[in-house]
Symmetry: C2
Subunit: 206 residues, 2 copies
C-alpha cells in the first residue's frame, strides 16, 4: 500500500482492462494501444491512459503497451498474481453454477468449499465438492483462513450468512442474493442481481 488512495471508480475499470488484455494474449497478440483497448471496451483512450498512469508508467507514447507486461502489472495491482480460495454459500441452482464455473481459472480465484443448510443437500457432490453443513461455516472458514466468499442463498437468509462469514474472517463478499448487506467497514461487498441489470436497460426501451 502506498499512501495514495486511488478512487474506486478507477479500481473498478482495472479488471476490465485486464480481461481484455488476457483475451488479446489468448489471441497471441503482443502489443496494444489505449486506442484499441478503448474501442474494445467502449472507454476513451484518454481515460485508459489516465487510469493506468495512476499506477506507474506502463507504455511509451508511440509504441503502445506490451500486453504481457501490462497483464503482469494489473494482476499485481489487483492482487490476483495469486489464487484466492473462495467459499460458496448455498448449493441451489446459482451456487451450483458458480461452484462449477470454469471462468475463474487464470483470473485469480478457486472455489474450495460449498455450504448449505438443507439436510438433503449436505454431503452430496457438486462437481468435485462435497456440500458441507452451513452450521460449520464460521469455523471452517476461519480454520482455512478464507477471505473471499460468494453468497447464493435466498434473500431472507443472506444477512445471517453474511454475519457468520464476517465472524469467520471473510473480507470480500460477492452477493447473489437480492438484498443489500450490512457489513463492517473493512469488508467489501459486490452485488450480482440480474433484475437490477435488466431494469437499468428497460428504462431505455419503449
Amino acid at each position: 500500500m502506498t499512501g495514495k488512495t486511488i478512487p474506486d471508480i478507477i479500481v473498478s475499470r482495472l479488471p476490465l482492462y485486464l480481461r481484455s488484455l488476457q483475451r488479446m494474449d489468448e489471441e497471441n497478440r503482443k502489443v496494444t494501444s489505449s486506442q484499441e483497448l478503448g474501442e474494445r471496451l467502449g472507454i476513451s483512450a484518454a481515460q485508459i491512459r489516465k487510469d493506468l498512469s495512476q499506477f506507474g508508467e506502463f507504455g511509451k507514447q508511440g509504441t503502445g503497451y506490451n500486453i504481457n507486461f501490462l497483464i503482469e502489472q494489473l494482476c499485481r495491482i489487483l492482487h490476483v498474481d495469486q489464487e484466492w480460495d473462495v467459499a460458496v454459500i448455498g448449493a441451489g441452482d446459482i451456487g451450483n453454477a458458480v461452484a462449477r464455473y470454469k471462468g475463474f481459472k487464470n483470473r485469480g480465484f478457486r472455489v474450495v468449499m460449498i455450504f448449505d443448510d438443507d439436510p438433503d443437500k449436505i454431503g452430496t457432490q457438486i462437481g468435485e465438492f462435497t456440500v458441507s453443513d452451513a452450521n460449520d461455516l464460521t469455523e471452517s472458514i476461519r480454520n482455512a483462513q478464507i477471505q473471499v466468499a460468494m453468497i447464493a442463498v435466498p434473500g431472507s437468509n443472506a444477512q445471517n450468512v453474511a454475519d457468520r462469514l464476517v465472524e469467520g474472517g471473510i473480507k470480500a463478499i460477492l452477493n447473489y442474493a437480492p438484498i443489500n448487506l450490512n457489513v463492517p467497514e473493512d469488508v467489501n461487498v459486490q452485488y450480482i442481481d440480474p433484475s437490477i441489470h435488466l431494469q437499468r436497460m428497460t428504462y431505455y426501451l419503449e
Copy 2:
C-alpha cells in the same frame, strides 16, 4: 420520453431504490424516508432526494415517501410496470440457473425461451422450458417480438450469438460471457462476470 436526458449513473441507482422499497413493502411498511433508504443502500439521503427529484415530486419534506406510491412510480419510470419476455441463450450451468431463477418474479421479467446449439441439449427440459435449437434463434425472437435476452454461452461464441440476437430485434442484452460485445448504438448491454466483481475487491485485500 420527455426531452430531458437523465444521466445513466442516476438511472443505474433507480433499480436499487425500487428493490429496497419492494423489500420494505414485503415487510408491510407504508412510509419511508430518504435517510432510511440511504442507510439500507449506503447512499446519502441527499443523493437519493436529488435522484428522485429528476422524475417528479414523490415525497413531502417531513412526511417522507409513501412506499407503495414510490414503487409504482419507479416501476413506471423503469418500464417494469409490465412483464418483459426474456430469451436465454445457452443451456449450460448458468443458462439453467437463470432460466429457473425465481428472482425475476415481480421485478418485470419472465423467461420464455431457452436456446442451445448442442444436439444433446436441444429438446431436453429445463424447468418448464424445452431447449430450442439455437439455429432458429433470430427467427424465433423476431416472431415472438422479444426485446430482452441473456447470453450464457462461452466467450468464444458470445459475439456471434449477440449478432444474431440483434438481427432478431433484441434491444437489451444481459451478457454472462466474459467478453465485451460490439453491438449497434440502440442496443444496451449489461455484463455479469463474477471474476470482475471479485477482482474489484481483492484490490483492497492484503
